[in-house]
Symmetry: C2
Subunit: 229 residues, 2 copies
DNA sequence: CGAGTTATCTTCAGTCACTGAAACTTTATG
DNA sequence: CATAAAGTTTCAGTGACTGAAGATAACTCG
């Protein structure tokens, strides 16, 4: 069994580099084409041809047409596992930390571009693509559900409960709500012409408002409960 | 334009009856076949053949293979619109009411059967089918997301906010979490051999525990926040 | 009841995502 | 360089889903 040497397995090597490059190229090309012509109007074979490979090769890299562009979400699951487990912060505080980190990633991506407005427009078009494509929204909500399962697991471990117990489940659902709110809020407030930092803090504000509500409880929902009884 | 007379449009008539019967027959047949052989092992054409119609006809009745068996969920959206809007109850109380109603529907369906254990086994197998079929889970979480949008809309109207505001969004996410918990809880506690009413109240208890948490706020999450600071 | 209108079903031909297997090419290793 | 491993292409196929045109059933009205 002539196997790969332990010293360089997994990282360097021309093979690995090519693979990462091709993966990125496929994803970027697909995003560009989907944005320009619409998700349904572009066949996987088209993306493949545009990258000079076979359709089969695309499916060797990505498990589905949707994953071609939604792959980026997968990073969040790790963040959930890492930060939610920290017992020195409340679950809501931990989630806010995760979301703030994502915000900073977005900020870095946008401000590092030559033309901020152009970068913003690109970000926004990608958001539009997701919003306008049922299959991508479905993919996203499926991902969110997996996130919720991860969160429930971590929270249960913190609290000495089982993941299937109602408290971690309910808490996970509420926390994942914050994630969605930030996503939606970014789409709302990040727009060309508006300063990036401005939009980001507007989004962060809305997330904080939501966080305050679920931290303090829906009993405080405006116009909600009859006070007495 | 010789159009249908107003007096009987939409309800009676042999045509409408046949249509409803065929729809039910397709759905039931599909559920039975999916449960027996697995979702992927049954082609839409198989379901069609078993019902003596063409594959094309199946797709005239249902927009997708998944909808063939997941159609039943759609009723819940109406309940959300109706009950969540009631301003005399808190959002959580209103949601509990909706969930309790669904519980009673399940109870009625199960206790009305000749053999309770058989009915329970059938219910459970259907739950297993959903749990074991990624495409059906995806369909369900997509449906849940639409529910959340409805809930956010209604809650925003109650509170004099816009549906996109963070409070209704966060509240809707938390409330929909309760729906999922009840679903999961029913699957856990409803099992052949256990009295139906027993399983139902166990499920109701878990939902109430979750409701208490989100009503009072995640600040009370066990082992959660450091008390001071 | 019979003719005409309309809704629905069937047939047919096609698109496209996705998969498995086998031949072939490129990269890594001794 | 020889050889193994990994990656790519080619090929052939499955199955969900769609549009269009013709056949059939059900409803309307005279």
């Amino acid at each position: 069994m002539t196997t790969t040497r332990a010293g360089q397995r997994g990282k360097d090597g021309l093979r690995e580099r090519n693979k990462r490059a091709m993966r990125q190229r496929l994803s970027d090309t697909a995003a560009r084409m989907f944005i320009e012509h619409g998700f349904d109007a572009v066949r996987v074979a088209d993306v493949a041809e545009a990258c000079g490979v076979t359709e089969r090769t695309v499916f060797n890299y990505f498990p589905s047409k949707e994953a071609l562009v939604m792959d980026r979400l997968e990073a969040t699951a790790d963040a959930l596992r890492t930060h939610l487990a920290d017992p020195t912060r409340s679950p809501v505080a931990a989630m806010l930390r995760i979301l703030d980190e994502e915000l900073r990633v977005v900020e870095a991506g946008l401000t590092s571009a030559d033309d901020h407005d152009q970068a913003l427009a690109g970000y926004r078009r990608f958001g539009d693509l997701i919003r306008d494509t049922p299959q991508l929204r479905a993919y996203q909500s499926d991902t969110a559900e997996r996130f919720a399962d991860v969160a429930a697991e971590v929270l249960a471990a913190r609290a000495g409960l089982r993941p299937a117990d109602p408290e971690p489940q309910a808490a996970a659902a509420a926390l994942l709500g914050l994630w969605r709110i930030q996503f939606r809020s970014l789409r709302t407030h990040l727009r060309p012409g508006r300063p990036i930092h401005d939009g980001l803090s507007a989004a962060a504000d809305e997330v904080r408002r939501a966080a305050r509500l679920i931290e303090g409880g829906l009993a405080a929902f405006p116009g909600g409960a009859p006070e007495d009884q």
